[in-house]
Amino acid sequence: MSTIIAYFKGIGQGLNTLWTGMKVTGYYFFHARKEIITMQYPDNRDTLKIPERFRGRVVMLHDQNNEHACNGCTMCEMACPNGSIKIITDKILNPETGKVVRIIDKHIYHFSMCTLCNLCVQACPSNALAMDNSYENSVYDRSELTFVLNQPGSKIRDNVKD
């Protein structure tokens, strides 16, 4: 007797679960206009909204005085798993304190080798680096993918610790 009950129970449960699935897809079908998530990329360039956390490429943040927060500690260079960052440092004499301090000459970033893993941004102790939201980064020559991240004429911000 119990097997007979189980048989009909199985049929009922089967129909019920099938209907549950059909309700889900049916909702999608009849609300397709609202729910469709496809972006027709080249056509919607004007209205395209890139999420804030999208990793486009690594940039160094500069404020309005053309000052950045990088003191050339090379933590990002060490954190990079595929060696796409190379920092050339320089030493200058601080005229006020009379100390020799380290500054960056060039923060070289090879975008062609970068996997956008975000490890350099996390490693940076002074939050000098960030990921921007740029896309369409393709170029015609490999050399165009090597960037110097510190802007020409920029200098380190005063309150950054060594």
Binding site: G21, M22, Y28, F29, E35, Q40
Partner: protein, 363 residues
């Protein structure tokens, strides 16, 4: 039913005009050529439309957009695909059985052509009114699996062979359920002629008049016929993830298109039979009550061809809904479903329908 929507006026007119021009034999041959051409055009058109519909419907179920680049709303996409398939080179693999390999697509394609020959789509729009139409369709529709089996065997490829054998095991089992579900309805219609079955529903569709057993029969028929067309959750003859493409792995170009097209036209045939048996074919929606005379009269003003194709579209949509919702079954699950569930339920339902027909407990 309004007489102006009757296609037999048009076809009769053409027949009389041709009879005035030539001898009866020549008239018959000319009409056969015309009808054959129209049927080929119809099948090709329906194939293109249904493939596009399938792709669009599938896209909406999966929250995608589907084809939308070729023509407005992607409407010329399947035509472009068809032209591409037409221009491809026909390759026969080296170790294939050449004769059977080339024969299989034609057998597969022949089935929907034969079945479409007896289906009434609208008043007067029927190629041949056989008095055993239902029997003819059940006989003919089991021939499709022969083409699949031959194609799978002749390709000389393990995937094709497994696909063909699976399809054979499945279709042979599900034929029983399809036929029993049809027979359940034939108890009510008291005729095997498709046009008479449609005519018997002029005061209400059988799914309403036959209530519970008709509804069960419809569900059983829908399940079993989805399996018979190798679609939906029962598409393990193709089973992309396991067998690359199953029985048509080794086919390319227009030979592949034949397999592909036949699947969709078979779906049309199956949906048409479901429409005729359960939803009254091209009959308008009528309520079998005294007070519904005005309502019935309004329904008569919608042409039969709209009703016919509208209902076919509905059933096809149901089958597409199944396909894009349910996961594919394993071969043992499929055979379990048929032999342990569908077949016993069909037999009991058959008995129930016979009792209801005897006791007159229907509208």
């Amino acid at each position: 039913m309004n007489a102006i929507y009757d296609f037999s006026i048009l076809t009769g007119g053409i027949h009389e005009w041709l009879s005035g021009l030539m001898s009866p034999t020549a008239v018959m041959i000319t009409e056969m050529v015309i009808i054959g051409t129209l049927l080929i055009v119809f099948v090709a058109l329906m194939g293109l439309v249904l493939v596009l519909a399938e792709r669009k419907v599938a896209a909406f179920f999966q929250l995608r957009l589907g084809p939308n680049r070729v023509g407005p709303w992607g409407s010329l996409q399947t035509l472009a695909d068809f032209l591409k398939l037409l221009t491809k080179e026909l390759i026969t693999t080296k170790s294939a059985d050449k004769f059977l390999y080339n024969l299989a697509p034609f057998i597969v394609m022949l089935t929907p052509f034969l079945a479409l020959g007896v289906i009434p789509f609208a008043p007067g729009l029927q190629i041949m009114d056989m008095n055993i139409g239902v029997f003819f369709i059940t006989a003919v529709s089991s021939m499709g699996v022969l083409g699949i089996l031959i194609g799978g065997w002749a390709s000389n490829n393990k995937y094709s062979l497994i696909g063909g054998m699976r399809s054979a095991a499945m279709v042979v089992s599900y034929e029983l359920s399809v036929t029993l579900a049809i027979m359940t309805m034939v108890i009510m219609t008291e005729s095997l002629s498709l046009s008479e079955i449609v005519a018997s529903q002029s005061d209400g569709w059988w799914i309403i008049k036959g209530h519970i057993p008709a509804l069960i029969a419809f569900l059983l028929y829908l399940t079993a016929s989805t399996a018979e067309t190798n679609r939906g959750p029962f598409d393990l003859a193709e089973a992309e993830s396991e067998l690359t493409a199953g029985f048509h792995t080794e086919y390319g170009g227009i030979k592949f298109a034949f397999f592909f097209l036949s699947e969709f036209v078979n779906m049309l045939v199956v949906a048409s039979i479901a429409t005729i048996l359960f939803f009254g074919g091209w009959m308008p929606f009528h309520l079998p009550f005294e007070w519904a005379v005005g309502f019935n009269h309004i329904m008569d003003f919608i042409p039969g061809i709209v009703w016919g194709f509208g209902k076919v579209t509905f059933v096809i949509f149901l089958m597409m809904w199944f396909r894009w919702t349910f996961p594919r079954l394993r071969i043992d699950q499929i055979l379990n479903l048929e032999w342990k569930y569908l077949l016993p339920m069909n037999l009991v339902n058959f008995l129930l329908m016979a009792l209801i027909a005897l006791s007159g407990f229907y509208l």
